[in-house]
């Protein structure tokens, strides 16, 4: 059962997509669980104010929200660019 080159390319592309998706998912998970664990384990640190009114906790919370959005943006850029171009080429090759 040998695969034709088109299928092999698709296989590689699919693997690449899962890899990128996996890395980004783990990044999100680490950022979020890091935040939650800091909240659970080090409340005094999270309550420390960098400037009056801005505690480390608030800063990190806002950063996790912004990072989550940025990560979806990174994925979208990769998928709409590199990934879709490769996919279109595969379709065209049929």
């Amino acid at each position: 059962m040998s695969m034709n080159p088109n299928e092999e390319a698709l296989e590689a592309l699919a693997a690449a997509r899962w890899r990128v998706a996996g890395v980004l998912t783990v990044t999100t998970l680490v950022a979020y669980l890091g935040f939650i664990l800091l909240v659970a384990f080090d409340k005094p640190l999270m309550g420390q104010q960098l400037v009056p009114g801005l505690s480390i906790g608030i800063l990190l919370g806002a950063l996790v929200i912004i990072a989550a959005w940025a990560l979806t943006g990174i994925y979208m850029l990769w998928a709409n660019g590199k990934y879709d171009r490769a996919l279109h080429q595969l379709r065209g090759g049929k």
Binding site: L13, L24, A31, W69, M76, D84
Partner: protein, 544 residues
């Protein structure tokens, strides 16, 4: 700033509120009338004919997700306990990247109306669809109960209407949207609501910040001066790290298993639009949560904690009361109407996804084995919507006065444990089988319900027992891995050759999309020409 002397018009019949609300209902019913004339097939009823653009779907996703619970609830939590409200906001937002990376595109390419389409793609239809419908309908029911009871209480507080009248109004208007306008009307209701909610929250935050030189930090600092520096630090919400992680994973993976969210990915023309729409949605929702955080602090400083908890112990009235303080009765009316509209839109989305499970998964696939003619499918879909709408009203009345706040958490736990593992395994794992999928979905659903029943939330808070058999308030950290392990173990124990053999087809379609219209699908998928012209979609198709 002296918050002690606040008197409020809250709960009085408010002319502006009623006017804005009638305006919203009038506009959305006009949209429904327009949508009803375009809703002639099940594809239009359940997926708006696939004619929703990425930006529109982004707003609609945000509209589906930004419930009154997150607007009023998080603002209230921040107002009464400060920082802790942010923990929920962050948790609710981080589910969206997961949806983007793992779910949106494969779902769009593999399914038609429900997530069961994807799980059942290469497995045996009947058992998979039955179990998926169990997962969908339990999530939808618990979510609906929480929303309807919340609606009754909130509208009673906001407008002074009786609880039952509020539940019936919400139910009746929502039934009109779904029954006649299907997904086209529901999508536009979500868009209108999302725009109103974002505009209302932004305007309110702007008015608050104008009193603090447009610096959120000065506002936070003022709150710290009034209530102590601990308002800027984590409080009592998270004490037990395991509990924190458990809540975290349930929120994170629950979003990726919510049927009314997943269903939205079928309304866009292709995978590219699906992924772009989540990017828009994540940005809108993230922005909304950051603004809500400001509103909470604004309420604690400008309205005062005592005044807020004096009206509603849970603090849910913080945002409307703040609107009255900074913008007068007229603005209170506007924000109240927005909160009402918010509930209305969320229950419409939920009902439609439940109706899809009943009619598409159970009736068309299980009972009629895919042989039901188009007209019958549409009729059953409408009957199912009507049934669920009436059920929602009945449940809302039955659960009056009950503490149902935990039901949203329960819905997320079930979505994360029953729906998400089976969905992910079916797309990513070749050896996944029918038995594995059924076992995973049922294990996830049953274990979540069981553990929450045995948890302190139900045993101690609700039933008044002194201790609970299961220590965690959220079972996610146990039930999500359990559903994965059971699904994998059963699949390995009872291999299914046919399912593995068809994985190549799944993989191909998941990435490439539908190569050419499959006859069965072509019968119901309308060509873009039927709808309004969509230059973006047709353009990219032409290039492809």
């Amino acid at each position: 700033m002296n918050p002690a002397e606040t008197t409020t018009q809250l709960g009085q019949p408010n002319a502006t509120a009623i006017l804005f609300f009638l305006l919203f209902v009038g506009v959305t019913l006009a949209i429904t009338y327009w949508a009803a004339r375009k809703t002639k097939t099940t594809s239009e009823f359940f997926a708006a004919g696939g004619g929703v653009s990425a930006a529109q779907n982004g707003f609609a996703l945000a509209g589906d997700y930004m419930s009154a619970a997150s607007f009023l609830g998080i603002a209230g939590l921040v107002a009464t306990s400060g920082f802790d409200g942010l923990i929920y906001s962050v948790g609710w937002l981080v589910g969206w990247p997961v949806v983007t990376f793992l779910i949106a595109e494969p779902l769009r390419n593999l399914g038609k109306y429900t997530f069961a389409d994807v799980v059942a793609y290469r497995l045996k239809q009947t058992p998979v669809r039955l179990s998926a419908a169990v997962g969908t309908l339990t999530v939808v029911s618990f979510y609906l109960i929480a929303q309807m009871v919340g609606a009754g209480n909130l509208i009673h507080l906001l407008f002074g209407l009786s609880y039952e009248a509020a539940v019936v109004i919400v139910g009746a208007v929502m039934i009109l949207y779904v029954l006649f306008g299907g997904m086209i009307a529901t999508t536009w209701v979500q868009i209108v609501k999302a725009v109103l909610l974002l505009a209302g929250a932004t305007g309110l935050a702007g008015m608050v910040l104008s009193r603090f030189g447009f610096s959120p930090l000065r506002l936070f600092n003022e709150a710290a001066t009034q209530y102590g520096a601990e308002v800027l630090a984590p409080g009592k919400l998270v004490n037990n790290p395991l509990e924190a992680i458990s809540l975290g994973v349930a929120l994170m993976f629950g979003t990726a298993g919510l049927p009314h969210i997943l269903m939205r990915f079928y309304t866009v023309p292709d995978a590219k639009a699906a992924r772009s729409s989540v990017f828009y949605a994540t940005g809108l929702i993230g922005y909304f949560y950051l603004v809500t955080f400001i509103l909470g602090f604004g309420a604690s400083v400008l309205v005062g904690r005592q005044a807020i908890t004096g009206v509603d112990k849970g603090g849910n009235m913080a945002a409307p009361m703040l609107a009255e303080v900074v913008g007068g009765t007229g603005f209170l009316g506007f924000i109240s109407a927005v909160a009402f509209a918010t509930i209305l839109a969320v229950v419409a989305g939920l009902t439609l996804s439940g109706a899809a499970a009943l009619s598409h998964d159970l009736w068309s696939s299980v009972v009629r084995k895919g042989q039901a003619p188009e007209a019958e499918q549409l009729k059953v879909a409408r009957l199912a919507s009507l049934f669920l709408g009436v059920l929602a009203i009945i449940l809302g009345v039955v659960f009056k006065g009950q503490n149902v706040a935990f039901m949203v958490g329960l819905a997320f736990a079930i979505a994360a444990s029953a729906n998400f593992p089976a969905l992910l395994l079916s797309m990513a794992w070749k050896k996944f089988t029918t038995n594995g999928a059924v076992a995973s979905m049922l294990t996830g659903a049953i274990s979540s319900v069981l553990f929450i029943f045995l948890s302190p939330t139900v045993q101690v808070d609700l039933l008044g027992n002194t201790s609970a058999l299961f220590p965690l308030r959220n079972p996610g950290v146990i039930t999500i891995p359990l559903a994965f392990i059971v699904g994998a173990a059963v699949s390995l124990l009872f291999p299914e050759h046919e399912s593995a053999a068809r994985f190549a087809e799944v993989k191909h379609r998941m990435h490439v999309g539908v190569p050419q219209p499959v006859p069965a699908v072509a019968a119901v998928a309308p060509k873009p020409a039927e709808g309004p012209p969509r230059p973006a979609a047709t353009g990219s198709e032409a290039k492809a």
